[in-house]
């Protein structure tokens, strides 16, 4: 609600600043007229804001689960190792319950793919590839990667990135009935846009940095050393030159040097971080054993 109010103020501020000498009182009066230029700008601003913010949780979850089906088509099925899946779910839920959005259900899934990547579907389903797990060396690093993805879910980044999609205009709650016909096609098109954003192009860089900072905070609150986020990125940096790129963390995330620099300076906010948990032994028990079994 606060964001929509701010957006309205922003729209008003834009209108007032564009033509400061042209009688701003008149422009304010025109806001009430939907046919005026000012009225159309205001209407557009409110529509964009409402399209992502008025969506009910169940609708967001439907978007996420539909996207999950597509992600398995693209990257492969979950790794058939129940102990590993349970372990990753425990680490993920431990951090998720200390995130800014702790009341929704979260599921964490290891997909059987060598492509190094992780992504978050709207509503709380988070995927990490077997390839990315190969890079991680302890529980704190896994927690940091999952906390980064939880940060995307908490801030509804994926939905915000496609909020101009036709389907989302004015949609609050969808049902199986509204998924048929033309609306169903619009829904499918939106899932296609989301796939392109999450799997190919990547989210806006500002969103990635925001999720990085959220990961530090969430990992720290849970009791994991937040420096683990930096060490994962440093390991990925070493592998960057040899990675094919397509569909990987490298092609869908901002430059690693910049992220490492930003996060390293932010660690000053957590002076006692080095004393926090890293838990390499338990990680090895569940993940390294699974790697050997491959």
């Amino acid at each position: 609600m606060r964001t929509s109010t701010m957006s309205l103020f922003f729209a008003l501020a834009c209108l007032c600043s564009v033509e400061a000498h042209a009688g701003w009182q008149d422009k304010l009066q025109n806001l009430m007229n939907p046919e005026s230029r000012e009225g159309k700008i205001l209407s557009g601003a409110t529509q964009v804001v409402s399209s992502s913010q008025e969506m009910s949780y169940s609708t967001e979850r439907t978007v996420g689960e539909s996207l999950a089906l597509e992600s398995m088509q693209r990257f492969g099925k979950p790794v058939p190792n129940e102990a590993l899946q349970k372990y990753v779910n425990l680490v993920g839920n431990a951090v998720a319950r200390n995130s800014r959005r702790s009341t929704i259900p979260y599921q964490f899934v290891v997909l059987d793919s060598p492509v190094r990547n992780a992504f978050a579907a709207p509503g709380g389903m988070i995927f990490v590839s077997r390839g990315l797990l190969d890079v991680v060396d302890n529980e704190a690093e896994l927690a940091a990667v999952l906390a980064h993805e939880v940060g995307h879910v908490a801030e509804k980044h994926a939905l915000k990135s496609i909020r101009r999609a036709q389907f989302l205009q004015g949609v609050g709650t969808i049902s199986a009935a509204t998924m048929k016909g033309g609306d169903g096609k619009k829904f499918e098109s939106m899932i296609g846009d989301l796939q392109s954003t999450l799997f190919d192009k990547g989210l806006d860089q500002g969103m990635e940095y925001e999720a990085d900072l959220a990961a530090l905070e969430t990992a720290y609150r849970t009791g994991y050393d937040p420096a683990a986020m930096v060490s994962v990125l440093q390991k990925l940096k070493k592998l960057e030159a040899s990675d094919s790129g397509k569909g990987s963390w490298f092609s869908t995330h901002p430059p690693l040097d910049e992220r490492i620099a930003r996060l390293s300076s932010r660690l000053e906010k957590y002076p006692d971080h080095a004393s926090l948990a890293k838990v390499p032994a338990r990680f090895a028990k569940y993940v390294k054993v699974a790697k050997k079994g491959k």
Binding site: Y57, T62, R100, R101, G172
Partner: protein
């Protein structure tokens, strides 16, 4: 008139310290207000997600706080934030601005119903339209039925000596 002005000034002065007090919000489910700075200390009260707290003494991993109903105690710093948690939009109503408590119920309902009926009707409809293979629908159902309870997370953190369970 003068009396009113004086009264208003006094009121403003009295309110000033309260306005300056630092606030924290509970972000984790299962948060407890403790009598001492320890996870094994006696429970003073249970604190729901979204509960507003006033910081009494803030240092280290445990914070001394006061709840809205005046109870004082210690809370693990990881369970609170200096910003309010995200409020959910209710399940069927589609109304922004539902109370956090109400939305939690809606969210929980949406989740618990799932394990009984498999995929939601909306996702099943999407899968039908897209011709999604049966095997993948089953995989999604398995993912959704994998639940982690609060108790399991606590045990997990305790075994790893993490957060409030660190020595």
């Amino acid at each position: 008139m003068k009396k009113t002005t004086v009264a208003l000034l006094l009121l403003a002065l009295a309110a000033a310290p309260a306005l300056g007090a630092e606030k924290r919000w509970v972000v984790s489910e299962g948060t407890e207000l403790k009598a001492e700075q320890s996870v094994s200390a006696a429970k003073v009260a249970e604190l729901p997600v979204g509960a507003e707290l006033t910081l009494v003494e803030g240092a280290g991993r445990w914070l001394k706080v006061q709840s809205a109903d005046g109870k004082e105690g210690w809370v693990y710093a990881g369970r609170v934030s200096d910003t309010q948690p995200v409020a959910e939009v209710g399940g069927g109503e589609g109304l922004f601005g539902d109370s956090l408590q109400k939305s939690q119920i809606n969210t929980a309902k949406a989740d618990s119903a799932r394990s009984i009926r498999g995929l939601s009707p909306e996702v099943a409809q999407y899968a039908k339209q897209r011709g999604t293979p049966e095997a993948l629908k089953k995989e999604l159902d398995k993912i959704l039925s994998r639940k982690v309870s609060d108790k399991e997370v606590r045990t997990f953190l305790k075994e790893g000596k993490i957060g409030e369970y660190a020595q």
